[in-house]
């Protein structure tokens, strides 16, 4: 402890002690859904659809929050800039990376990559199911089970293939795997950054720092 006086007053430029609740809820919700749907639920199953739709809602909410939200949640606080990301990574290596108000430039690129990939996964998932909500899928399944096969007629060629053929399905799978790779990179990035900055980056995404204030 260098100086007990200044410990109370932190510089203004630093990531938040605690991300706002919406960022946290959407972050962990989407993390949970990506892991569940990529690894545990069966593609096309009702649970897979439910989780996918919830994920879509969370993504939409987060994107709206990127315009409406507080400063550090807004897109303007972390513009995508590969050049800034590179110089940040160089700074990390040399141990002179500055603090940022929101996501650091490398993290920001990760965020955008994640959102785009997530949107692709969700979009292809919707194409694959013909845009059916889980409720509609359940109703149709119930109808088929009760002997009314007419709902099957509307689907030109059933069995997970939409009018775009198998392409959406393939893109869905590839993009989902890409999501897992991005997630792994993200976790590694947080670990490296936390070490380099000597700053716990996970706490702000959970419940805030344990540091006693006031």
């Amino acid at each position: 402890m260098a100086d007990p006086w200044t410990s109370e007053r932190q510089a203004g430029i630093a990531p938040p002690d605690l991300w706002d609740p919406l960022v946290r809820i959407s972050h962990w919700g989407i993390a949970f859904i990506v892991v569940m749907n990529a690894l545990f639920t069966k593609g096309g199953s009702p649970l897979h659809l439910w989780l996918g739709w919830i994920g879509m809602a969370l993504l939409l909410l987060r994107l709206v929050w990127g315009v409406l939200g507080p400063v550090e949640a807004r897109f303007s606080a972390f513009p995508p800039s590969p050049r800034a990301a590179l110089s940040h990574l160089r700074g990390l290596v040399s141990g002179r990376a500055p603090q940022y108000r929101s996501h650091n430039p490398a993290g920001a690129l990760m965020v955008y990559a994640f959102w785009v990939t997530l949107a692709v996964v969700i979009g292809t998932g919707l194409l694959r199911t013909g845009g059916q909500t889980p409720m509609q899928a359940a109703r149709d399944a119930a109808a088929v089970a009760s002997g009314d096969w007419s709902v099957l007629v509307t689907e030109t060629d059933g069995g997970g293939e939409s009018r775009f053929g198998t392409l959406p399905g393939e893109v869905h799978t590839v993009a989902a795997n890409l999501l897992l790779i991005l997630a792994a990179l993200h976790v590694a990035g947080v670990a490296v950054e936390s070490r380099a900055m000597r700053r716990n980056l996970v706490a702000p995404m959970l419940t805030g720092s344990k540091r006693r204030r006031g």
């Binding site: 402890m1 007053r9 609740p21 959407s26 879509m56 809602a57 507080p70 509307t154 006031g214």
Partner: protein, 175 residues
């Protein structure tokens, strides 16, 4: 300084509640609009869908208002926290000036400040990486210079400031 009613934790519960509600609202909106769109595509029933449109608009408007309310709450909290930080910063300045006035050395000032914050001798020794005996001796010297005989009296000198009473009576400089 532990001031329970100013703990950030209790203040943070409200935005979490608002955000949770907003998430539920969004889920409702997305599922409802998705369902309505699906029905609209399969069989276009005029009156039915115009009602659903109304509900959809209401849900989405509610979402946006919820979002704005949440942002206002967060910003208000931030302003309050900033004001609190300024206040505690101002108090720290007052304390620092008083310490200098008493002629405390640098080490004594640090120890005295940690003592004011409610840390006991063992904790101060651990933070400063010095022996407990040293810390105890430094605190004794601090109390002597401030003209008080124990920590409670020492802290009371500054509580007066917080309560808005006159500044600490200038004590004859002892060292």
């Amino acid at each position: 300084m532990k001031v329970p009613f100013l703990k950030p934790g209790s203040q943070r519960r409200r935005p979490v509640a608002v955000a949770t509600f907003l998430v539920v609202q969004t889920l409702a909106a997305v599922f409802f609009v998705g369902d309505a769109l699906g029905e609209l595509l399969s069989d276009a029933d005029g009156t039915h869908s115009s009602f659903e449109m109304l509900v959809a608009v209401a849900l989405i408007t509610g979402m946006i208002f919820g979002g704005m309310e949440l942002r206002r709450t967060l910003e208000r909290m931030r302003t309050q926290e900033a004001a609190l930080a300024v206040a505690s910063g101002a108090l720290a300045d007052v304390i620092r000036a008083q310490f200098a006035n008493w002629g405390l050395t640098g080490a004594e000032q640090d120890v005295a400040f940690l003592g004011l914050k409610g840390l006991d001798v063992a904790e101060i020794a651990e933070i400063r990486g010095s022996a407990q005996g040293t810390v105890r001796a430094q605190l004794t010297k601090v109390y002597a210079k401030a003209g008080v005989s124990n920590r409670a009296q020492f802290a009371a000198l500054f509580v007066e400031d917080l309560l808005g009473a006159s500044l600490v009576e200038p004590v004859a400089k002892a060292g």
